[in-house]
Every structure is written in C-alpha cells, then in structure tokens.
Amino acid sequence: MVEWTDQERNIISGIFSNLDYDDIGPKALVRCLIVYPWTQRYFGTFGNLSNADAIKTNPNIAAHGIKVLHGLDRALKNMDNIKATYAELSVLHSEKLHVDPDNFKLLADCLTIVVAAKLGNAFTPDMQAAFQKFLAVVVSALGMQYH
C-alpha cells in the first residue's frame, strides 16, 4: 500500500481543487496526441486528427480530455486504496480499449507539463514530486489488471 504524508495529501488535493478541468483536461490530451502521435491510434473514431490544429479544435478530443481528468477524481477520493479503485477501469483499458499501458505514463507526463505551465512559480519541486507520485500510483493501478 502506498504511504502518503499529510503534506503530500494537502498538495495533491490543493492542486485538484484549484484545477479548471475544462481547460486542463483537453490541453493534456491534445498535447499527448501531438507530442506522441502514436497515441492517436486509439482515437480513430474521434474525427479529424490530421494535424495539430485539427487536434486542438476537435470537440470530441476536448470532451474526452475532460472525462479522463475527472477519472482522476476517483483516486483523489480513495487515496489509500487506489489500486482497488481502478481495478474496473484497468480491465476496461486492457480488455475493451486495448491501450498499451505505457501510454498512461505519456499522458501523465503531459498532464504534469500542462499543470506546470498553468501554476508557474507555485509549482515547486515538492509539489511536482507529490503530483508525479500520485500520477505514478494511478498509472500503476491502471496497468495492474493487464494479462
């Protein structure tokens, strides 16, 4: 089980309570699709992804980015049992969506960068450490049911 210090819990809940999901979610997913274009393979039915501008203005991608970011809320509410919390979603991503779990890390890195861009000076090394630890636990949990 993952141990969280009080400081880490405060940092993580602080970041999310001040987050504009409608802004950050789409930005993170868009960035992932542009920086790591092979991730587009999972979005064949989402419409026009033919260039960066198409991706940035694609409403399906934006909606999905928001959905994915809200998916992190589950972990926020269950920080002491993230592994069990994501068991179902892990099965979904493995059996139905067939997403290579390495992609979770790519999206997590893009989310970190988008949050860093948003928070500026406030995004201290300690905040980055707590945030990345949280994302790493989620990423691990999402990959747990793959076989």
């Binding site: 542009i34 920086v35 940035k56 988008v114 990345q132």
Partner: protein, 144 residues
Amino acid sequence: MTTLTDKDKAIVKALWGKISKSADAIGADALGRMLTVYPQTKTYFSHWPDLSPGSGPVKAHGKKVMSGVALAVSKIDDITSGLLELSELHAFKLRVDPANFKILSHCILVVIANLYPKDFNPESHASLDKFLASLSLALSDKYR
C-alpha cells in the same frame, strides 16, 4: 528513434534563442526537481555537501548541464559527433545509467513549460522532446 526534421531543428533553435538567457536558471531548477522528484538520482551526487534545490552544487551543475544542451543546439546537424567527448565522459568516467537522461529531459521540459508557457506549445514540446531524446542517445553512444 529520432531523426530531427528541418522543422524540428528550426523550432528548437528558435526556442533556444528565447530561453538561452535563462539557461543557468533552467538547469538549476531542472536538476533540483530531478533530485526531489526522482530521489534515486541522488545516488550520483553523494559527494556533494548539499543536494537541496537552489544549493551551490546544484546551481553550478545545472549550469554545466545546460552548456551541454547549448553545445547540442550548436551541433544540431550532427549531435552524435558534436557530443563525442561528453559521451566518452559519461560512458567511462561518470557511468550514468542512460535511463536517467530521460528523467532529466522530462524535468527540463517541466521547467521550460513553467517559465515559458506561451512559447512551449504542443509543437515546440514535440520538437524539443525529440531533440532531448537525440541528445540523450548521443550521450550514451559510447557506452558499449
């Protein structure tokens, strides 16, 4: 993995033009973050008296690292040859596990996003990520 296209090179050079005046600060911040976020990287610096972000050794070393990045930008048409000496240093003397180059690259990207949010758009991010990957590959070229 990565061939830098002419577009990548142009983007990297343009971005570097904007950020190079803050290179020392970027290097110090990136290194400090790396040591904090990925504590296993501290194993390479057990000889430093102070490993905290903003400390003397961290600042000095961050500056050194960024001068390596500057070198790679100047030799962007053949990074492997351009970084030959540094590769030999890292291979035979420092023996840094190449996995750590990815880690430091990520921290550099985080700092640039943090300091230059408007310039570090997805396209610039993609090209810079490729560039740092090429740099890392060149750095590990002489390992074996």
